[in-house]
């Protein structure tokens, strides 16, 4: 009973189509509201950031994770979060030689299930929400990272590749008293 972590209520799942279509409705609304794909990308990143700074608490509350000590650790946590929230298992790969940069490869992605980009939207980064989420979530555990899409299967690339790069440790934001 005292076991933290998996509990019946946490495992609550919903049909991925509700999620996919709701996200689709959001992107199409943003395209109407902004008319410029670059601005939509920025807005998606911003909304992702807002989700990221909240989802990290959910992740920590439900997994009793210890603080990451290196980027490989972080990559593993991000990977498991994708599994936990979206039911996908991206591959972690293409490490830089300094081990400060890696890629997540998505061979499957519920966000794009019903999506086809029209020619007019080729500069749209449909899943840019992910970049914001990762940035926001890492920032809350005092890690500054950047992330961006290198490949996008919606644009005819063979796969979808998200790159994540370590920038710096946010020492000032460390919970006081922790080193």
């Amino acid at each position: 009973m005292a076991r933290p972590g998996v509990r019946a209520t946490d495992a609550k799942k919903i049909n991925s189509e509700l999620f996919t279509l709701t996200y689709g409705a959001l992107v199409s609304q943003l395209l109407k509201d902004y008319e410029n794909a670059e601005d939509v990308n920025r807005q998606l990143d911003r909304m992702g950031y807002n989700i990221g700074v909240r989802i990290i608490e959910d992740f920590l509350a439900r997994t009793s994770t210890a603080r990451c000590t290196d980027m490989r650790d972080t990559a593993e946590k991000i990977q498991s979060a994708f599994k936990m929230y979206l039911g996908v298992n991206p591959t972690v790969t293409s490490w830089s030689s300094a081990s400060d940069e890696f890629s997540l490869l998505f061979d499957q992605n519920p966000m794009t299930e019903f999506v086809e980009l029209p020619e007019s939207c080729l500069s749209l980064k449909y899943c840019n929400l992910f970049c914001g989420i990762i940035r926001g979530a890492c920032e809350m555990v005092q890690l500054e990272v950047t992330s961006w899409f290198v490949q996008d299967s919606l644009k005819g690339d063979p796969t979808t590749e998200l790159r994540v790069k370590f920038v710096k440790k946010l020492e000032d934001a460390m919970p006081a008293g922790e080193d």
Partner: protein, 186 residues
Amino acid sequence: MSSLKLKTTILDRSISKGKNEVSLNGFALLFSEIVQYCQNRVSTVPELQAKLSEFGQQVGIRMLDLLIVREKNGKREIKLLQILIFIKSTVWKSLFGKEADKLEHANDDDHTYYLIEKESLVNKFISVPKDKGNLNCAAFSAGIIEGILNTSNFPAKVTAHWHKGTTYMIKFDESVILRDKQLEGR
């Protein structure tokens, strides 16, 4: 440039079976973000509900296509009661994992129906602050119903209210009621 690459289009894939699942927690955060986005662009509660309803309508229209192909063999509902039952059971079960609790016909108005659910999935984590009056974010779900009805050629207005949990008030256009009576006569 990218159009030169070989693309598999969405039509080359088989239609999803609707069995994939994602976490409710992830959805709740996305929905919360959508509510905040809407809230920043309107100034009143009715406007906010209308905005949420628009989002829902987009979802409803697409869900209808999907369910008609997958569950209904391509056949659409043409009778009023049938489409309401289709929404109460098939749509609600697919989207929210369970049927809506009740479907009622208004006593005093044959244009009006009520679909009732004790707790709307979208409201699970939401506490509406006092200054937001009777805002119900299930306006989003009301939009889903409205999107489905309008696309199925049952023009109607659907609104969400705090009553027995959440009650969706479905007000059909006069033409729908007339047509349905004619169908019955045959």
